[in-house]
């Protein structure tokens, strides 16, 4: 008893310091998760909630648009994450050992789109790509080319969204990679140089393995961010053409706020939560193992 008291006294200050944050965590993170799970089992109407069991999930799995949204989300996650990691490794490994002023310039150039809001970026792209009065279609018309509606074509709408999102996000990854690569001990490169290793070999055999924790971190944050891709869809395509670019988050949003189907929207949220957990756990485990 005495020992427990001592232990309590020893740590009470620490607990008190984390208590405010912990309370916030419980109220704003844990409670909404459980509330979301609960709502996914209810039909929510104005002033009335009816328990419907797994009906909302059954409805979801009978809706082809939901499957389309999963497919599109997976495509976005795979391509945007691969493009981001590959391109940022390419840029960072090319410049990390150059003069600081040059590195800063490259870093700054790629980081500017990150600072601009995604809303603004989407609106600018929308203005460029609008088939009726956009700049690209205007230029095409003036040069007597046929007008291609990149946002209205099922085969081009996904690549356009992937490119827009990638272009906006890649700066963050480049910054992180450059920082990680600058931190790699110089003597390793010198030793490789003495052994006559080419730059390509140095990058693949020394640099990339040594920045693996950064790669894992960038992959996880990008997977989570792209799973929630929404703004660019809402502003650029509205999920179209004919639901061709609808994502899980956009589908959730439509159900929650446009169709007022809170139960179904919560069920989508729960499924997204499970997918994110499943994707993140092995990678987080790998990261902690390294440490």
């Amino acid at each position: 008893m005495k020992r427990r008291n001592y232990h309590w006294k020893e740590n009470v200050t620490g607990y008190l310091f984390i208590l405010p944050q912990f309370l916030m965590f419980l109220i704003f993170i844990v409670y909404p998760i459980f509330e979301g799970i609960r709502l996914s089992l209810y039909k929510v109407q104005f002033n009335q909630q009816t328990f419907v069991g797994l009906d909302n999930y059954v409805t979801l799995f009978h809706d082809p648009v939901f499957f389309k949204s999963i497919y599109n989300t997976v495509i976005f996650v795979v391509f945007i994450v691969i493009l981001t990691v590959a391109f940022s490794i390419f840029v960072a490994s090319a410049v990390f050992d150059k003069k600081p002023r040059y590195v800063s310039f490259i870093r700054g150039s790629y980081y500017i789109p990150v600072m601009v809001s995604m809303v603004v970026m989407s609106m600018v792209w929308g203005f460029l790509l609008n088939p009726a009065n956009g700049l690209i279609s205007y230029a095409a018309r003036e040069m007597d080319f046929s007008i291609v509606n990149l946002l209205g074509n099922k085969h081009t709408v996904l690549p356009v969204i992937i490119f827009v999102t990638f272009a906006t996000n890649v700066g963050q990854a480049i910054i992180l990679y450059i920082a990680a690569m600058i931190g790699v001990p110089k003597d390793l490169f010198e030793a490789a140089e003495v052994d006559g290793a080419s730059r390509i070999r140095t990058i693949f055999q020394i640099l990339i393995p040594l920045v693996k924790p950064t790669t894992i971190y960038i992959t996880i944050i990008n997977i989570i961010a792209v799973l929630k891709i929404f703004v660019v869809i809402q502003l650029l395509t509205g999920g179209g053409p004919n639901n061709g670019s609808v994502t899980m988050m956009y589908y959730l949003y439509n159900n929650a706020f446009k169709y007022n189907q809170l139960g179904i929207a919560s069920a989508v949220g729960v499924i997204m939560f499970v997918i994110t957990m499943l994707l993140s756990i092995p990678q987080l485990r790998a990261m902690f193992k390294e440490e």
């Binding site: 609008n130 088939p131 004919n242």
Partner: protein, 468 residues
């Protein structure tokens, strides 16, 4: 050591207390607000704060040419006038303008959070769902014999759901086409131009001929007709086109019956005018806002409009905000030769907030601005529902007579069906599928009918009107 730990613990405690105090501060404020409601004990009136939302309607109190005219000017003026003459409470009205495409999001979030606005001023068609969901207060007690005599029965029918009136009609806003008479003249289509104070009616053959000629004669970068299907905005015109060949759209049971020969002809017509280049390109990615902007920039010869948009376009031209051209009105043509006419009845509704005092004051305010002899004059910015106002302004606005003549061909585009908001969300993806060639018109209308009827059926099951 002990002192140091005590100090740390005390600091942590102060942090937590300040956090909790910060949180509870808001509650105290709320209590103060909630207490505002009962009758005053002293001579001073108690305060009641109302929130009024509206989507953009007309600018200014009476006219868009007033200095600093904006969408909320009318309600700010009405609130000021109301609070000066209202003897029960000291009323403050917070007016907020909501974008039309954000309406349902904003309302759903606030309804689910228990904070709906007290009053919403909007087209009735967009708000019918909230009646079916039981979110609105009936307004029958506001309707007196004077109002009934002054406002035609067809407008009362429009705002009546089941046995109750849920909206106080203020104005109506007929939807038509607008055309650029200068572009018509340049294309040699003088014969098809109507009088500036009339709504021109073309037969469908004439309209097809107009589009064909415009396509041949218009300069590069300009298109004969505006067509859009990016989202649900402006979808009433798309619904009108789908009735062009005589399809009734809803049966007596309020089910969609678009999938027949006439519905198919209409969907095919849309596909044809698009693929023949009679419209702007990329209709699947173009919104009604884009189309309207293109029309104002003289990139479209024919576009959709309603009374408010038409007046705003003219005001923009007068103010030098948009290029000036000869803008005129035409009806949506149909195969039968009779024009397709629809109108948005615009009025205020009162949300159920659970606060009896606020509800009563909100109702009093709605009645005030919807019946005050000076304020109702503002309805001339679209078309007045009150005969007294229409008579007063008919010499000044000759189009009132033209709109009145059109009312014989009105169709009810919502069918007053429950679930109309969600129903709107399934039309534009099918139109997109037609335009991008993913579905045949036949398949698209079949799918729309099937999805639409499922939505209506589900909404009927939870509608308070149908469950009565």
């Amino acid at each position: 050591m002990l002192k140091k730990r005590m100090f740390s613990a005390a600091t942590a405690l102060v942090l937590i207390m300040s956090l909790l105090a910060g949180c509870s501060g808001g509650d105290q404020k709320n209590t103060a607000n909630n207490s505002a409601g009962g009758e005053a004990d002293s001579g001073k009136k108690d305060k009641v704060e109302l929130s009024l939302w509206l989507t953009p309607q007309w600018k200014g109190v009476l006219d868009a040419s007033e200095p600093n005219a904006d969408y909320d000017s009318f309600f700010k003026e009405a609130a000021d006038k109301f609070s000066k003459q209202y003897d029960k409470y000291d009323v403050k009205v917070n007016v907020q303008v909501i974008a039309g495409d954000q309406r349902d999001e904003m309302l759903n979030v606030n309804l689910n959070g228990g904070t709906p606005p007290d009053i919403f001023f909007e087209s009735v068609f967009a708000m019918g769902d909230y009646v079916h969901r039981g979110a609105l207060e009936p307004l029958d007690d506001l309707v007196d014999d004077t109002a009934k005599a002054d406002i035609d029965q067809k407008y009362w029918d429009n705002v009546t759901f089941g046995d109750n009136v849920y909206f106080y009609p203020f104005a109506h806003n007929p939807g038509t086409l607008a055309y650029n008479a200068d572009m018509f003249k340049a294309a040699g289509l003088d014969n098809y131009i109507g009088d500036a104070n009339e709504i021109q009616t073309w037969s469908l053959d004439e309209y097809n001929n107009i589009l064909k000629t415009l396509k041949e004669k218009l300069p590069k970068g300009s298109y004969p007709m505006g067509l859009y299907a990016l989202n649900n905005q402006g979808d009433t015109w798309n619904l009108a086109y789908l009735r062009m060949f005589g399809n009734k759209f809803f049966d007596d049971e309020r089910n969609i019956i678009l999938d027949d020969e006439n519905g198919l002809k209409a969907a095919q017509w849309l596909k044809d005018v698009y693929s023949q280049g009679y419209t702007n390109p990329g209709a699947e990615s173009v919104s009604s806002n884009d189309a309207n902007a293109m029309f104002q920039n003289q990139q479209l010869a024919v576009s959709f409009t309603n009374a408010v948009l038409f007046n705003n376009a003219k005001a923009d031209m007068e103010a030098g905000k948009a290029p000036k051209f000869d803008i005129r009105l035409a009806n949506i043509p149909s195969a039968s030769g009779n024009p397709l006419s629809f109108t948005y009845v615009v009025g205020a509704c009162v949300f159920k907030t659970g606060n009896d005092v606020k509800t009563q004051v909100a109702k009093d305010f709605v009645k005030f601005f919807s019946s005050d002899s000076e304020l109702v004059k503002s309805s001339k910015n679209s078309i007045p529902v009150r005969s007294s106002v229409a008579d007063q302004f008919k010499d000044q606005y000759p189009l009132f007579t033209a709109y009145d003549a059109n009312s014989a061909n009105l169709f009810n585009f919502t069918g007053n069906v429950p679930g109309y908001s969600e129903l709107r969300q399934v039309l534009y993806p099918e139109l997109q599928a037609i335009y991008i060639g993913e579905k045949t018109p036949e398949q698209a209308i079949k799918d729309y009918q099937s999805k639409g009827n499922t939505i209506i059926q589900q909404a009927k099951e939870s509608s308070i009107i149908y469950s009565k």
